[in-house]
Structure formats: structure tokens, C-alpha cells
């Protein structure tokens, strides 16, 4: 295969108010035509800057290439004047971005934005461009392309927009497609569809794909070769097989170990790396990974070169030695480890009388009345539509489902942050739905919440001590030394230094902020914590740290968790039982292990199938469910899942399946459970 893109010793600096920051440091990568190279690494490792440098859009963002060279086909891009780079962009090489919602200009139709790319590269007249847009949209699987092309970005779902974005990137037959986290903002089911689409199109258009991702599962599914980046440099690069089964660099190894696996042991302590990646201003001298590396020696103060070892490249002084030693284990071989180390406490039949559940939710509904349009009666958005579940003390109940399934609304209604339209929520035997004012505040002491975006849930002007201490002042009326001592104790219990109470949120990393959020939730010694996507905003290596912390706190304090997440791996790992929601209804509930081993509902099955495992060359996404979750304003008749279900019959269309028990602690709402 011929060489398409070659970066050698590329160095990029960004000018910022605090000076020139070297964000890409001596990076060499090569992409041959037709191959897929995955760039993996945590946020801040320089992946996105590298991709923008290749497209030379870095110029407008205060960045410049200060060293090395960049060659695309026969053109040296390094110092090419801007107006000579422009004809290449969008035609020979194209790019797909992470957030399809914000990557389109909201003031123009989808069709006109795609046509604009075609016309600006003189690939046809406006009329020809329009015809080509329809053809492209059809090719990427957008239904009714003639209608969709006249719509504005705000009117399409994320999945459809990402398809349209891909159509736009393909409009001039690029030889290199750069996709920067193209599926991160999407549901796993839609992610599987988009990845499959990319793979098909890549073969059809015979183009090379540079895929940037933080998700090693995605990399495993897509990559021919993987380049691992850390702190603006390449840590390791090799074939997918080499990187995933025998990583040489300690960072690659840590990253792979930190991934929570769908087939790994549950409730074990996850192997995790300490700390988190530094910002470009604090990149250490020598090896960038040195501060977090368990193998670091004095040698590492000097910068390791990217050296060739066993047909791959690794930038580590110890790589050759580590490759021999048993210390670097192939992470894929630890799949079959012992079963859960903790007895699962399930609410069994007959057990109920002995121990009342901590939390009991009965037929809970939350409907939002919509504005009347025209003469039709006003519609109701049924975000939660008749959910019943229970949770015992010390138990973790996971809740999964695509975005729009009503998970978060259910959580907020349980905490009485939103009023239920009907139904009951009993907590410690006390009915909550009618409570107001002081009585409700009293109950809230024992029901706390951990948020998805730790930074957004804190007042940026407050110190960590004030943030954690606030519940203590409100509920316990504590102040002075008593409060300070408790705050220190809480900080210690979440693994932070007690002296950090003087810091403010912006001085902390994402993982540290989430620890502060957890400490705040623990301040009043709650019995129940609602964790709504507690790790999805965090880097892979930090996710496992937080999961470990949550487990440890549960074991120590006997907490009950309601864990809401779209990442199935984490839910499976932490939960005793898992409930699956679809369009406001619970469709299945089962003990965690059972659910993932033998899903009864086709939707559960589809969710599980759409998670890429860490095995190179995995492609069963073609079985994954098609379509996207419909609007809860107009849920389908009968079984709400029937339009997407491969097993649906006419009965499913007409009759809503009843909720029935199919085993101990298992229930499902399906006419034909698998």
C-alpha cells in the first residue's frame, strides 16, 4: 500500500495567554491508503490537535507547526500557504467531528451545507450538487433524503446528523477521512450503526481512516493499526493485535487494564492507574508518563525515543525489559477470573417480609403537558410511564437504556426533585410523593445524589471545604472546628488530601472534582445515593478509580445505589441487579450476571450486542438493533420497541406486553422473551 499521510517529528505549539504551549511534541505517524489507524489516548493527550494540524485548521486557532514535516500524498503541507491547503481540505481529506449537534451551522439547511462543500470544490453546479446530496444522504442511511436535506440541524437527531456529517465529508471522494470521536456523543446502539457505516463506506470509497477515540473497544473494532498518545507524544504504536494483546508501554497496559469489561469479573477492585494526565502547561520533562508510571526509574528523567521493538514502536526505556517480564500481562488473558467476591443480596421471595425494601417505587409516572398546537388536544410527554421497582439496603440497582428512555427523569422523581404525576415512592417505609417543605428536607438527608458533570454541579467561587460543608451547615447546623473536622474526614474517605479544602473546583482534575461531589453526597451519612452517569464525563483511567471508590464506600458504609448510566460495562460491574428502560417503561429487570448472560428482552440483547468488546476484528454490530429511539411524545402502539425489534409480530404491534416474572428476581415485559 502506498503512503498517504506521513508526519515525521511533527511539533506543534499553541500560543495562549500563558505563553507558547507545546501540545504536539515530536510525533511521527504514517497512514497508508485504505487502512484504518486509530489514535487513542485520554483527553489532553493531543489527539484532536494532531488531527487539526493534519487538516491545517490549526492555523486559525493560534497554533503553528514549529518542527518536523507533514506530507500528504505528494504535497508537503508543513509550510504550504493557506490558500493552497484549502483546495485539499474537504476534497482530498475530510473530517467528521465529535458533536454532530454543534458541528453544523444552525442557520442553514443540511442539504445546503453539504452542497456548499461540493460547489466550493467545483465538483458540480448547484443543481448537480443537490442531486448528489440526495444520493449521498441515501448512501449513509438517512431515510427520506429529499425531505431531510431541507431540514435544519436542530430538527434532526444526533445519529442522523452524524450520518449527514459523514455524507458531507464524503461529498468530494476524499482519500483520507479523519473522524474525531465520531460516536462519543451518541448512544451505543447508534454508535454501532455509525461504526458499521464507516467501515462499509471505507471499503466502498477505498479511503484511509484516521479514527480518534478514547474508547479502546471502538479502536479494537475498527483499527488496523493503533497509535497510543500521551502528553503530546506517541507512547506506543503497532498493529491492533500487538497493542491490544501484548502492550509494551506501561501506559498502554494501564489503559487496557482500566477498561471495565463486559466479560470480566464483577465487583472486583479494578486495576487503575494513579493520578490523571497533566495539561500541556505541566507536561513533565523526560518521559511524560513518568509521574504515573509504576516502573519509573531515574533513567526516565531523560526522554525515551520512539524505538522499534519486535515490529512495533514504543517510547519507553523499559519496554524491552518489560516485554520479557511477566509484569506486562496480556490484558485479554485475564478474562476468566473468579466470580464475584461478594455475596449478592437479592430480594428473594419470602425475604420481603423479613426485610422491607429501603426504597419502593410503585407505578410511578411523570408526564409533561406540552403546548397545544392547533386544535388537537394538548399532548403529554410521558417521560416515565408506570415504573415499579424496589431496592434493598446495601444493594446497587443499575438502570440502563438509550438517552430519551427516561432514566434520569425517573431518578429525579424518586428524589422528589420533580413531582410525580402519579404513583408512589416509599423510602424507609415513608411515602415521599406528598411531602413538602421541612418534612421533605428531613428525608433528603438520607437520599443524596452524584452528578454527571461534577464541575457544573459546584459553585465555582466556593472552596472545596465550603462545597462539602454546605449540607452540614444546612442540616446539622454545624460550623467551626466540628464542621472542618468532618470535611477533612470526608476528603480522606474519598481519597483526597484534607488540605485541599482550601482549593476551588477549577484547580482540580475531572476525577478529583467527582471525588469532591461524592464527598458532598456522603456528608450527611445517607442510606441511598442516586448516581446519574457518575463516570461518563471522565477519562478511562479515571473512570476505574471512581468505580473502585464507589464500591469501597458501599462496602464500608452499607450504601444503596441507584446507578444510572449508558455505559453497560460499568453498570454490570457495580450493580447487583440491572433494570432496562425504554421510552419511559421498564422492559426488563434481572440480577446483573443473569441479565448480561441471558438477556430476555430483545432490547436488552440489542444494547449488549452494541458494546464493542476489546477483541480485534470484532464485527457483530451488524446484528445490533437498527433505527433510533422514537419521541416519547408519540410512542409506538403495543410494545413500544416493536418498530425496531427483529422478532416483532402483529401481536406486538397491537397488544402491550404485560410485566411478568420469569425467574427469581427476574421480570420482563415482552410477548416472546428470548
Amino acid at each position: 500500500m502506498e503512503l498517504l499521510l506521513e508526519a515525521s517529528h511533527l511539533t506543534v505549539e499553541l500560543s495562549t495567554p500563558i505563553g507558547e504551549l507545546r501540545v504536539i511534541d515530536d510525533v511521527s505517524i504514517a497512514i497508508r491508503s485504505g487502512e484504518t489507524v486509530c489514535l487513542v489516548g485520554e483527553s489532553g493527550s493531543g489527539k484532536t490537535v494532531l488531527s487539526k494540524t493534519v487538516m491545517r485548521v490549526i492555523d486559525q486557532e493560534n497554533g503553528r507547526i514549529v518542527g518536523g514535516s507533514l506530507k500528504f500524498e505528494d504535497t508537503v503541507l508543513t509550510r504550504l500557504p493557506a490558500d493552497e491547503v484549502r483546495p485539499l481540505r474537504g476534497s482530498r481529506m475530510a473530517m467528521v467531528f465529535q458533536e454532530p449537534m454543534s458541528a453544523f451551522d444552525p442557520a442553514f439547511t443540511i442539504g445546503s451545507q453539504i452542497a456548499e462543500a461540493i460547489v466550493s470544490h467545483r465538483q458540480g453546479s448547484r443543481r448537480q450538487a443537490r442531486a448528489k446530496v440526495v444520493e449521498l444522504l441515501r448512501k449513509v442511511g438517512v431515510p427520506e433524503p429529499e425531505v431531510r436535506m431541507k431540514q435544519y440541524p436542530g430538527e434532526l437527531s444526533g445519529g442522523l446528523l452524524q450520518r449527514a456529517m459523514i455524507a458531507m465529508a464524503l461529498s468530494c471522494d476524499p482519500k483520507l477521512l479523519i473522524a474525531d470521536e465520531p460516536t462519543t456523543a451518541l448512544d451505543a446502539t447508534v454508535q454501532a450503526q455509525i461504526l458499521a457505516l464507516l467501515k462499509d463506506l471505507q471499503a466502498e470509497f477505498r479511503m484511509a481512516l484516521l479514527l480518534i477515540t478514547h474508547d479502546l473497544g471502538v479502536a479494537a473494532a475498527m483499527a488496523d493499526r493503533i497509535v497510543v498518545m500521551y502528553a503530546g507524544r506517541v507512547a506506543e504504536s503497532g498493529t491492533a493485535e500487538q497493542i491490544l494483546t501484548r502492550p509494551y508501554h506501561p501506559y498502554t497496559r494501564g489503559l487496557l487494564n482500566a477498561v471495565v469489561r463486559l466479560d470480566g469479573p464483577r465487583r472486583t477492585k479494578l486495576p487503575s492507574m494513579d493520578g490523571s494526565i497533566q495539561g500541556p502547561a505541566e507536561y513533565p520533562s523526560g518521559c511524560g508518563f513518568r509521574p504515573r508510571c509504576p516502573f519509573a526509574t531515574s533513567e526516565c528523567a531523560e526522554r525515551p525515543p520512539l524505538a522499534e521493538i519486535d515490529g512495533r514502536q514504543a517510547a519507553c526505556w523499559h519496554a524491552a525489559k518489560l516485554a520479557q517480564s511477566s509484569e506486562i500481562q496480556a490484558p485479554l488473558s485475564i478474562g476468566a477470573t473468579p466470580p464475584p467476591n461478594r455475596s449478592v443480596r437479592l430480594p428473594m421471595k419470602g425475604d420481603g417480609q423479613a426485610r422491607a425494601p429501603l426504597l419502593e417505587v410503585v407505578d410511578l409516572r411523570r408526564h409533561y403537558p406540552m403546548k397545544r398546537t392547533g386544535f388537537a388536544p394538548p399532548k403529554r410527554l410521558k417521560a416515565v410511564d408506570g415504573v415499579s421497582l424496589s431496592l434493598s439496603a446495601g444493594e446497587t440497582l443499575g438502570l440502563v437504556g438509550e438517552s430519551g428512555s427516561g432514566k434520569s427523569t425517573l431518578g429525579r422523581v424518586i428524589l422528589q426533585l420533580e413531582q410525580a404525576t402519579s404513583g408512589k415512592v416509599a423510602f424507609q417505609g415513608r411515602e415521599l410523593t406528598g411531602l413538602r417543605g421541612r418534612r421533605l428536607r428531613e428525608v433528603r438527608r438520607s437520599m443524596q445524589m452524584i452528578f454527571q458533570d461534577p464541575y457544573g454541579s459546584m459553585d465555582p467561587r466556593w472552596t472545596v471545604g465550603q462545597i462539602i460543608g454546605e449540607p452540614l451547615s444546612i442540616h446539622e447546623n454545624w460550623s467551626g472546628k466540628e464542621k472542618t473536622d468532618k470535611v477533612k474526614e470526608l476528603l480522606l474517605s474519598v481519597g483526597l488530601d484534607p488540605s485541599w479544602r482550601e482549593r476551588r473546583p477549577h484547580e482540580l482534575s475531572g476525577g478529583q472534582k467527582q471525588r469532591v461531589g461524592i464527598a458532598r453526597a456522603l456528608a450527611l451519612d445517607p442510606a441511598f445515593i442516586l448516581a446519574d452517569e457518575p463516570i461518563s464525563a471522565l477519562d478511562v483511567s479515571v473512570q476505574s478509580q471512581i468505580l473502585n471508590l464507589l464500591q469501597e464506600l458501599q462496602d464500608r458504609r452499607g450504601l444503596s445505589y441507584l446507578l444510572i448510566a449508558h455505559g453497560l460495562n460499568a453498570v454490570r460491574h457495580l450493580s447487583d441487579r440491572v433494570g432496562v428502560m425504554y421510552l419511559g417503561k421498564l422492559v426488563e429487570i434481572a440480577p446483573s450476571e443473569e441479565l448480561f448472560r441471558h438477556p430476555a428482552h430483545p432490547y436488552t440483547r440489542a444494547l449488549i450486542d452494541s458494546v464493542p468488546p476489546l477483541v480485534p476484528g470484532w464485527t457483530p454490530w451488524k446484528q445490533a438493533v437498527g433505527g433510533e429511539i422514537p419521541s416519547p411524545l408519540d410512542p409506538p402502539s403495543g410494545c413500544r420497541f416493536h418498530p425496531r425489534c427483529p422478532f416483532a409480530t402483529s401481536r406486538c404491534k397491537e397488544e402491550e406486553p404485560a410485566w411478568r416474572e420469569i425467574g427469581p428476581a427476574r421480570a420482563v415485559a415482552c410477548h416472546y422473551p428470548v
Binding site: 483546495p87 458541528a103 453544523f104 444552525p106 442557520a107 470544490h121 430538527e155 456529517m165 398546537t373
Partner: protein, 313 residues
Amino acid sequence: MLKFIVFRLAASLFVICGSSVLVFCILYWLPGDAVLSRLALGTASPERIAEIRHGLGLDAPFYQQFGVYFGRMFRGDFGESLVSAEPVLPKIMEHVPATLALALTSTAISAGLGVLLGVWSAFHRGGAVDAAVRIVGLFGVSMPAFWSGIMLILLFSVRLGWLPPMGSDGVRTLILPSLTLGIVGTGLILRMVRSSVLDTIREPFIVTLRAKGLSERAVMYRHALRNALIPAVTMLGMLVGEMMAGAVVVETVFARQGIGRVLADAIAGKDLPVVQGVVVFSAGLYVLVNLLVDLSYMLIDPRIRRTGIGRGT
């Protein structure tokens, strides 16, 4: 759409009534009245004053005066000037064209210059051009119109002798007053456009546009500007109020005909019917222009067009 317009018109009626009631009350409770200001102090006997007051109905209790005035107003009769005894409506209509000419020219100057300088400054952010333009903007919003008006007269009429310092006939007399008002509007719009453009070019979609190979000119003028101008259009609606208020000052400084001047004289003379007439007229104009601004949104911003514009108003 139609529903929205009807709703807005009904709401504007409410605004107009509210502002007239407010003006009526303020003028009623202020010390002094039209009779006192009409008759030179001390030339008339107290009996004579009482007689005139009685003739004009000014000695009636508050509720009666209120009832009579608004009763007539709803029949379209704004009454007569207490000072000159002219009917109010024709008096206002006579002066509207001069003020409209002033307001339109200065709005055009503000919009044109404001957008141009704002965009220019944003595209060259951090440079000398940006610094200069920002000083102009600061000058515009912070200099009072009566002062900058006088300065313009000193420069262009007294020193250079290019333009007439006062009067209201012909285009030449329009230039200095509309420039005076335009400086204020330019400052407001320029600052708005500048920050709006700067916000827009940080949006992720700008990178997409560059990545698909559009020229920097197309990215900026076709996409960034269109998105950035949406908030600036709102500003234009509010500018109308600014211009009406400015007209009072500018028409006085330049001794121009116009309803601003009529209003200033009427307030000084406690000439309630005339003040009321001008207030109703300007409130109506303000509401109408803002309705047009809201409707024009639908042309610029597809998100509003599709989601129904009644929302949030």
C-alpha cells in the same frame, strides 16, 4: 403566525394605555399647570386665572379629568393644546416627517457603520484596528448627544462653515443632527456585533466549515456573520426608543422642527394633551417596530421559524 401578530397587537394596546396613564398621573401631580405657564407671572388676577382654569376643566377633581381625557382619547380625539389651542393630532402629524427623516437616517448610519465596524473589529481582534474601533464604540455610548451635537456644530458650522448649524429645511440641515444621533447608535450596535461575532467564531461549526475547504471569506461573511447578526437585529428594535429619546435633545440643540421638540416644549409648558399625544404616538411606533423586528427573526433564524415564534414571548 396570525395568532402571534394579533396577540402582539393586543399587548401593544396595553402598553400604550399604560404609558398614557403614567404620563397623565405624573403631569397631574407635578406642581404648576398650563395656565400658570401660559400667563406671565403676575399679569393676571387670581380670579382671571381661576376662570381660565374652569374653562379648561383643570379645576375638576382628578377622576373627572381622567375620565374626560381618556373618554375622548378612545374616540380618537386627543384634544387641543392648552397653550396654543391647536388640535393635537394635526400638530403631531405636521411634525412627524421631520423626526422620521432624522430617525431613519440616524438608524441607517448606526446600523451600517455599527455592523461594519463591529465585524471589522472582531475579525482583527487584538490588533490596532480593533483597539481604535473599540475606542470609537466607547465614545459613542458614553458621550451625551447634546455635547457631541454642540461639538459637531463647532467643528463643521462655526470653524469650517460647511454645514448649517440649525434649521429643518433641506438635506443639508439633516446631516449634523443625524450624525449626532448616529454616533450613539453606532456605539451600541458596534459593541453588540463585535462580541456576537467573537462568540460565533468560537463555535464548533466554524471548524467544520474550514475543514470542508471553504475560504476564510465564506466562513466569515456567509456563516459567522449571519449567525452573529441575529442578536444585533434585536438591538435595532431597541434603538428606535433610543432615537425617539435622542430626538428630543437633538432637535432642541439644532433648533429643528419635529415631535421631539414639540414634546420638549409641551413638557415645559405643562401642556398635557400634547405630551399625551406624543407619548401615545411614540409608544405605538416603538411597539410596531419591535413587532417587525420579531417577525424579521423568522427570516434570519430558521430555529425560530420552525419551532413557533409565540414561544417565550
